[in-house]
């Protein structure tokens, strides 16, 4: 990838033009799939309203993911679309920053503070539990570390951040990523069902999805599938969780270095900054600007809508990037450890959210 950038720079305008052209087909596919989801939702709503039929509203999020999944797992995504489709995480992060406009800084500090408190409790217990499970299933210690980091903190990003820091094998990282992705796809469909059956409030459900679902894209989607308000809270909770990546990876790096199985960490502050997800700062900045009245009310609505458009591209990308066949090919033991761990974390965070709702008044 670095060489691609170098070549783009050295080739000047021609390289740049080529890079843009490479992105266009995939971006159009993301937009088409996402918009199709929105169109289906609106068409069903209009039809049922005109016929006075009662029908549950199925959000565009689900349609976009399902259409993407169908394409990815039947015809497959042709190579020409890959570069553009891979931008979906970029849109996710831009969308999260823009979503900051929908939060007053006080709300961010209140809910973010509660999230961080719950994350700290959940992290301690879930990391310990994952290590016990790894030992019980005789997984390699570094694979267990990666699975623990992935399921406790931030899915794939955390695994990718931790892999070089603890000097883990490529194979281990691939297994851990595959297990986390499979479980993320499953949670997309199970979390909203569980949330509805338990009659969770939007805030409680959003907090639960943000604390328990691993990948940021999947956590955002799982929240949005429940309701718009739940999606907002899920993003905030997940962002709080993401902010801790650096600290956890640093702790693991120091542990493995102390055992002589990874390089020692030199400048810890620089290490933390490198691993810190910078979009969290953008989110806080936009939230601060909204709080001090930098934007008018109609402008805040525009920013919120821009954020929804960015998420629309993200949700399409989630479906288009999930290959069920390939995920199923991974070994059963990492998947089993991940699955048991995820159920544990889901139950644990659900209990914590119930407690927070009762005693900390979400």
């Amino acid at each position: 990838m670095a060489s691609a950038v170098t070549s783009a720079r050295s080739a000047g305008p021609v390289g740049l033009a080529r890079r843009i052209v490479d992105l266009i087909p995939g971006l159009l596919l993301l937009a088409a799939v996402g918009y199709a989801g929105k169109f289906i939702e609106q068409s069903i709503a209009a039809y049922t309203k005109s016929r006075h039929v009662t029908f549950p509203n199925i959000e565009y999020v689900l349609w976009a993911i399902v259409i993407g999944l169908v394409i990815a797992n039947t015809t497959g995504v042709p190579r020409i679309f890959e570069a553009g489709v891979a931008t979906y995480e970029f849109w996710l992060k831009a969308g999260i920053v823009l979503l900051g406009s929908r939060f007053l800084l006080g709300d961010v500090l209140h809910l973010g503070g509660i999230s961080l408190l719950l994350v700290a409790v959940a992290l301690t217990l879930s990391l310990s539990f994952m290590h016990l499970l790894g030992r019980a299933f005789k997984l390699k210690p570094k694979l267990t570390s990666l699975l623990a980091i992935g399921s406790s903190i931030c899915g794939v990003s955390a695994i990718i951040a931790a892999k070089p820091a603890i000097d883990a094998d490529d194979e281990d990282a691939s297994y851990a990523i595959a297990a986390i992705l499979t479980l993320g796809a499953i949670s997309l469909f199970t979390f909203p069902l569980i949330g509805h059956s338990l009659h969770l409030s939007d805030k409680a459900y959003g907090l639960w999805a943000g604390l328990a679902v691993d990948n940021t894209a999947e956590a955002t989607a799982a929240g949005a599938l429940y309701s718009d308000a739940a999606g907002k809270v899920a993003v905030l909770a997940k962002t709080s969780r993401n902010a801790l990546i650096g600290f956890i990876v640093l702790a693991y790096a120091m542990y493995w270095a102390s055992r002589g199985e990874a390089q020692a960490v030199g400048n810890k502050a620089a290490f933390l900054w490198r691993k810190f997800p910078k979009f969290v700062l953008g989110f806080l900045l936009i939230s601060l600007l909204a709080t001090i009245g930098f934007f008018t009310k109609p402008q805040l609505t525009s920013l919120a809508n821009l954020s929804r458009w960015a998420f629309l591209l993200t949700f399409a990308g989630v479906g288009l990037h999930t290959s069920l066949r390939e995920l199923g090919k991974q070994g059963w033991r990492p998947f089993a450890v991940g699955a048991i761990g995820e159920v544990f974390i889901a139950l644990l965070t659900l209990g914590l959210v119930y407690g927070a709702d009762r005693y900390l008044h979400l």
């Binding site: 670095a2 402008q299 920013l303």
Partner: protein, 74 residues
Amino acid sequence: MPAIRTSVAGFLFLCMHTTFPHNPKSKTLNSATIMSKTDSTAPQRGISLDLYAVLLALILALLVRFNLIPPVKW
């Protein structure tokens, strides 16, 4: 018009400097593919994706703030 020029210039700048990591969810989920594309020990030439996402969001926020783009509808 200046707003459109700013947006286009920003987009071109992003395209030139942003490195979109290969997402490990893609079809070829084997270790070689994933790690050859995502190994963060490799020299970092581009600025991280996060920073460009923040930059794009801030540019959009300013365009909205100064009414340089029409209201965005959903």
